[in-house]
């Protein structure tokens, strides 16, 4: 759960059965074990708005087929060109919904991990497994040194 003292909330999303699509939840799980506020979820849904409304920074972590496998790309959350709410919510729609409903919204970043294989039951591929470790270490380090976030 989000801690007001932290201000950083990590939301890793993806299917745990679909190979590299599990990268986001894995990053969230490992960061939670290190004491960070982190949510693992299959897909983004509207009620997450309430949880991210009290964060200063929301870091979305997702697998991305458009990024080279094993590479990590971090940036601001891109504007969504799709419907604001389809069968899932995009990070930008979620931030917009948060602002609309709660009058505030966190700064939002997207950490994308390039995936290679999304087959059912495949598990993480080797480059993505390495990238997950790198993302976890990188986020933990940046959270402390760049953003000065404390762990719980």
């Amino acid at each position: 759960m989000n801690s007001e003292a932290d201000g950083l909330l990590i939301i890793g999303y993806g299917s745990s059965l679909r190979g590299d699509d599990d990268a986001g939840p894995q990053v969230a799980r490992q960061l939670r074990r290190r004491g960070f506020s982190a949510i693992e979820t299959h897909q983004l849904t509207p009620e997450l708005a309430q949880e991210i409304s009290s964060a200063r920074v929301a870091l979305f972590v997702d697998a991305d087929a458009a990024v080279e496998p094993g590479r990590i790309r971090v940036g601001t959350v891109p504007d969504s060109s799709s419907s604001p709410f389809d069968h899932q919510v995009s990070p930008s729609s979620l931030v917009q919904l948060t602002r609309e409903l709660y009058g505030r919204a966190p700064a939002a970043l997207l950490l994308a991990i390039g995936g290679a294989c999304y087959e059912v039951g495949a598990g993480l591929s080797t480059p993505v497994r390495r990238a997950v470790r790198g993302a976890v270490d990188g986020v933990a380090s940046a959270a402390r040194t760049v953003f000065d976030f404390r762990r719980r």
């Binding site: 999303y13 993806g14 299917s15 745990s16 059965l17 679909r18 699509d21 979820t41 299959h42 897909q43 849904t45 509207p46 009620e47 708005a49 309430q50 997702d62 991305d64 087929a65 458009a66 799709s82 419907s83 604001p84 709410f85 389809d86 069968h87 899932q88 919510v89 729609s93 917009q96 919904l97 609309e100 409903l101 999304y118 059912v120 039951g121």
Partner: protein
């Protein structure tokens, strides 16, 4: 002949496509609802240990995994030939009811309320949860609060909010923590207030939609749902009942093992979703509906006071057998109240805190069938295993499959009422999608795919030339 394609249908779970065929004058001659994803769960579970089935099949969906957990766990109970401890049954039902609350809340507040409260013909750019948040923020927040309440129960009782580990073959893997029980009871009152307030709001506006009510799948079909011995609505357990459109009960007290005597599965061209039908009436005459509308049509009463009062009012208003699929929304809101009342009743019993919550056994039967009501309707898991417990065969009949024929017919009815001519109108298209959403179909989205165009409609002539196109 001309053809309109809606691909994919939006605001449902999974991906689907609708094709509407027009004649030369622009009138609708026929429609098709295609499910374009192959899931393959039944095949790739072969060889896995049966006790992994709850965990595997829960991943079929991120919205209603609990339903698969329940049906799978019950099928495993049957393979083990065990009767699970009473507290385990109660905890499972508690989790199951929480799943109904959160799933029904998603369907009503976030998928259908934009149509109902902002209007089917309103600006499509704002006819969504963001537009709802702008115009009716209190309602959007209520939806979030109700969904979170259901998820907190699931997380607190079963371990995780989406794919919980607590529901296992033989029962559940942990007793109910008294602190969790107290926390749920604290949140129950506000949740019930939201549910009642929302139903009251809906009852005040439903008459505005008489035209849609008449054409949103208003038709004679059979109805199927689970009921208890006395004909009361059941969600976690119970016997299958079929009622005909005249109100007569045509099959009753059917336990899970008899499902294949009454349910046949037809294969449709151009769709990966099978089309179950009521076997004694054959295909396609045995068309039936499941889910909230069908459950209320099947039951004689609801076993909790506030929900039963609403049920009686609903029947006084629309009759004992309610034919229009538009009323799935109304029935869904009544079921939220029922589920919340059941949560309260279960927690009021001290037996739910009993520490004996799991029966242990190996393989004692080579076949097991589990049945439960998912939010969208009856869900059946049927497994065959070898002596070592390895899965040899599985058949899963999901709620949306039961409704396949009815969804097809509803789309045709709506299209014939609203679709005319070569030029597409947004409100027309939206009503076609909305009738699908009324069923709240779950076509199982197991992964998220970026970059999809959420809605594309093409008007194509007989030669394949695109005459017109709409994108959301």
């Amino acid at each position: 002949m001309k053809r309109i394609t809606i691909d994919p249908v939006t605001w449902i779970e999974g991906h689907a496509k609708i094709t509407i065929h027009l004649d030369e004058t622009g009138a609708v001659t026929g429609t098709q609802f295609h499910v374009t994803q192959v899931r393959g769960f039944e095949k790739f579970v072969e060889g896995r240990p049966y006790y992994e089935m709850p965990g595997i099949t829960a991943r079929i969906c991120g919205i209603c995994p609990i339903s698969h957990l329940m049906a799978a766990a019950k099928a495993c109970d049957a393979v083990m030939a065990v009767r699970i401890p009473p507290a385990a049954t109660m905890i499972r039902e508690l989790i199951h009811c929480a799943q109904f609350v959160q799933s029904h809340a998603l369907s009503f507040f976030h998928l259908s309320a934009p149509d109902l409260l902002l209007g089917f013909d309103s600006d499509p750019a704002r006819r969504n949860v963001l537009g709802l948040a702008e115009k009716r923020p209190e309602l959007a927040r209520d939806g979030i609060d109700l969904r979170k309440f259901g998820q907190r129960i699931i997380e607190g009782v079963a371990g995780e909010r989406v794919h919980p580990s607590g529901i296992v073959p033989g029962g559940v893997n942990r007793p109910l923590d008294p602190k969790v029980r107290a926390e749920i009871l604290t949140g129950l009152g506000p949740a019930r207030q939201i549910a009642q307030k929302t139903l009251d709001l809906y009852k005040n506006i439903v008459d505005q939609f008489n035209d849609e009510i008449a054409s949103f799948g208003s038709m004679d079909t059979l109805y199927a749902g689970l009921v208890d011995e006395g004909g009361g609505l059941q969600l976690y357990d119970g016997w299958m009942r079929f009622r005909d459109p005249n109100g007569s009960i045509i099959a009753d007290h059917l336990d899970a093992s008899r499902y294949s005597d009454y349910i046949g599965e037809a294969t449709l061209r151009d769709s990966y979703l099978k089309a179950p039908y009521f076997k004694p009436k054959g295909y396609p005459g045995g068309i039936y509906r499941v889910g909230p509308l069908a459950r209320l049509n099947s039951a004689d009463h609801l076993g909790t006071p506030a929900a039963n009062a609403e049920f009686n009012e609903y029947r006084q208003r629309f009759g004992v057998v309610v034919a229009s699929s538009f009323h799935y929304h109304y029935a869904r809101l009544i079921e939220i109240i029922f589920a919340l009342e059941r949560i309260g009743a279960l927690l009021d019993s001290s037996q739910i805190l009993d520490p004996h919550v799991r029966a242990h056994a190996g393989v004692n039967a080579l076949e097991g069938i589990g049945i439960a009501e998912a939010p969208r309707g009856i869900l059946i898991h049927h497994y065959k295993v070898d002596e070592q417990g390895a899965m040899k065969w599985a058949n899963l009949i999901i709620a949306t499959g039961h409704n396949n024929l009815a969804i097809n017919r509803s789309i045709e009815q709506v299209s014939k009422r609203y679709v005319r001519g070569d030029k597409l109108q947004e409100g027309m298209l939206n009503r076609v999608s909305a009738v699908v959403r009324a069923f709240d179909p779950c076509l199982s989205c197991s992964t998220h795919a970026g970059g999809l165009v959420p809605l594309r409609i093409e008007l194509v002539d007989a030669a394949g030339k695109v005459l017109d196109e709409l994108r959301s």
